[in-house]
């Protein structure tokens, strides 16, 4: 077929004037990043506060108010999961393996007196009393998505402050590369600790830079109140871009180490639960897909599952932590 040449009067750019595609795309990505980071954060914080205000607090436990968090990505705009669901559908094997067990059994957990031992490769190892920890840094409201490795998710308003605040005060040594969290394993109040499902106490860990990331939260409360036992009272970690089990509950010890700490689920099933366990729709669990998730409380039985996002949607904030890493190998 003959295509007539119609160069009549049209100005065509010279090849040298055309922006190369990678440069063009980089600019778009930067704009998106700026929009998500700046505009997004401001808007999200505002909407999140509205959401919190609408929710009110459950009124079951002591109030723990926080100030609006200024950390980028710390307040998602999504609809909050009902407190009833977030506090009755839990994985906390120390209190039983059924989702409803923790809510039924965790009332025996005594959160006073409570101390958190900070030890290992730090210049100032010490033992913190829970009341001391509560006042260490101003409490902030943060609304995070929570994605469980089992394929469900929630949106939970936490109260706490960046774990980095605590880490700075104990001054990690240059040799410290990892942080290990050891959680309570008290047979007298935790019926599950008798089982051999996991090695007790439950341990988890993060690389030091992950632990220092401002989104990594040392949480003391949720929905404007102190944490219920089943959600990890009196103090837990929340790492929103990782599967839920990375966020250790009811912490009694924080240890700084040079080598990657052994973690509870990794020890139980090495090929299923890696050390990193970043939320990743492209890396399936050996026995199920991670491409989608069910948002708890969303639309009832017939609601469609939603697509899971890389790093649970926190890629803008944490993607650089894993630059150059093979996320299929380091799952």
């Amino acid at each position: 077929m003959h295509i007539p040449n119609r160069h009549n009067g049209f100005d065509h750019p010279r090849a040298s004037e055309i922006t190369p595609r990678p440069v063009y795309e980089e600019r778009r990505a930067l704009l998106r990043l700026l929009a998500a980071g700046a505009g997004g954060a401001a808007l999200a914080a505002w909407a999140g506060r509205e959401a919190l205000a609408q929710q009110g607090r459950p009124g079951r436990l002591a109030a723990l108010p926080g100030a609006r968090s200024a950390v980028a990505g710390a307040v998602t705009m999504e609809k909050l999961t009902d407190y009833k669901d977030a506090s009755s559908y839990n994985n906390y094997y120390e209190f039983g393996t059924d989702k409803s067990d923790p809510a039924r059994n965790a009332h025996t957990l005594k959160t006073r007196p409570w101390t958190v031992e900070v030890e290992g490769l730090v210049a100032r190892p010490r033992r913190f009393d829970i009341d001391e920890l509560l006042k260490l840094s101003p409490q902030e409201d943060r609304i995070y998505r929570l994605r469980c490795v089992e394929g469900w998710s929630m949106v939970i308003p936490w109260v706490g402050y960046s774990l980095a605040e605590l880490i700075r005060r104990v001054q990690p040594l240059g040799s410290a590369k990892y942080v290990e969290f050891v959680t309570l394993a008290d047979k007298s109040v935790m019926p599950g600790v008798g089982s051999r499902i996991l090695d007790w106490p439950y341990t988890e860990g993060l690389r030091l830079d992950e632990a220092m990331h401002p989104l990594t939260l040392l949480a003391f409360g949720m929905y404007g109140e102190v944490l219920p036992g089943q959600n990890g009272a009196p103090v837990r970690i929340v790492v929103p871009w990782k599967y839920g089990f990375k966020s250790a509950k009811s912490i009694v010890k924080i240890r700084f180490t040079e080598h990657e700490p052994a973690t509870a689920w990794n020890k139980a099933a090495r090929n299923e639960y890696g050390f990193y366990s970043n939320v990743n729709p492209d890396v399936d669990h050996p026995r199920w897909s991670q491409a989608t998730e069910r948002r708890i409380g969303e639309g009832g039985l017939f609601a469609k599952r939603r697509k899971t996002e890389l790093f649970n949607g926190y890629e803008t904030q944490v993607g650089q932590l894993y630059a150059g890493m093979d996320l299929r190998k380091n799952y």
């Binding site: 559908y89 409803s100 499902i197 099933a269 026995r287 599952r305």
Partner: protein
Amino acid sequence: MSTRGPLHAVAMHAVAKPVLHLLCLLPLAWLVYAAAADGLGANPAEALIRSLGDWTLRLLCLTLAVTPLRVLLGLPALARFRRMLGVYAFVYAALHLLAYAWFDMGLDAGEIARDVAKRPFILVGMCAFTLMLALAATSFNRAIRWLGGRRWQRLHRSVYLIALLALLHFFWMRAGKNDFAEVFVYAAIVAVLLLARVVLFLGHRLQVGKLSTR
């Protein structure tokens, strides 16, 4: 033989079958009610799928219990409930599969096929269901005549395989969490029921042997 005892009278009573029908439908009725009344907890889809699976396994155990109980209690009348219990096991299995296909997979055939290929425990469950389908499809009297009693019986012996596949399906589902307590309970029940058959079979052989040697 105590075939004319009070238990026999109960088993042969005219309302025995209707009552059993109602009992078998009770869990389903409760699940439907709970689903409608928002009583299935935070993750109703998961609760529904798992409950239907649990009831499939329970009804399979009951079906397998009929023959040993019949012999143990000397109550041949029990045999008339066996097929019915088996069909109910199938009904719950079919609903279990439907709930999975609908609530987990959005009734997307491609998604289901990918899931079956990727997840061995789903594949095992599908195998068990396919066999159950074959048994349910030949569960009426005319099918026995079509197939001939012997072939029909041979086909229906695959209920033993179904029970083992169902157990493997359950075991594998729980394997990710190392949480086998419930699996072991069902495994123990199925083991006892299958062992009872071995004992019955050997006892039968022994009797036949005695008769032929003396």
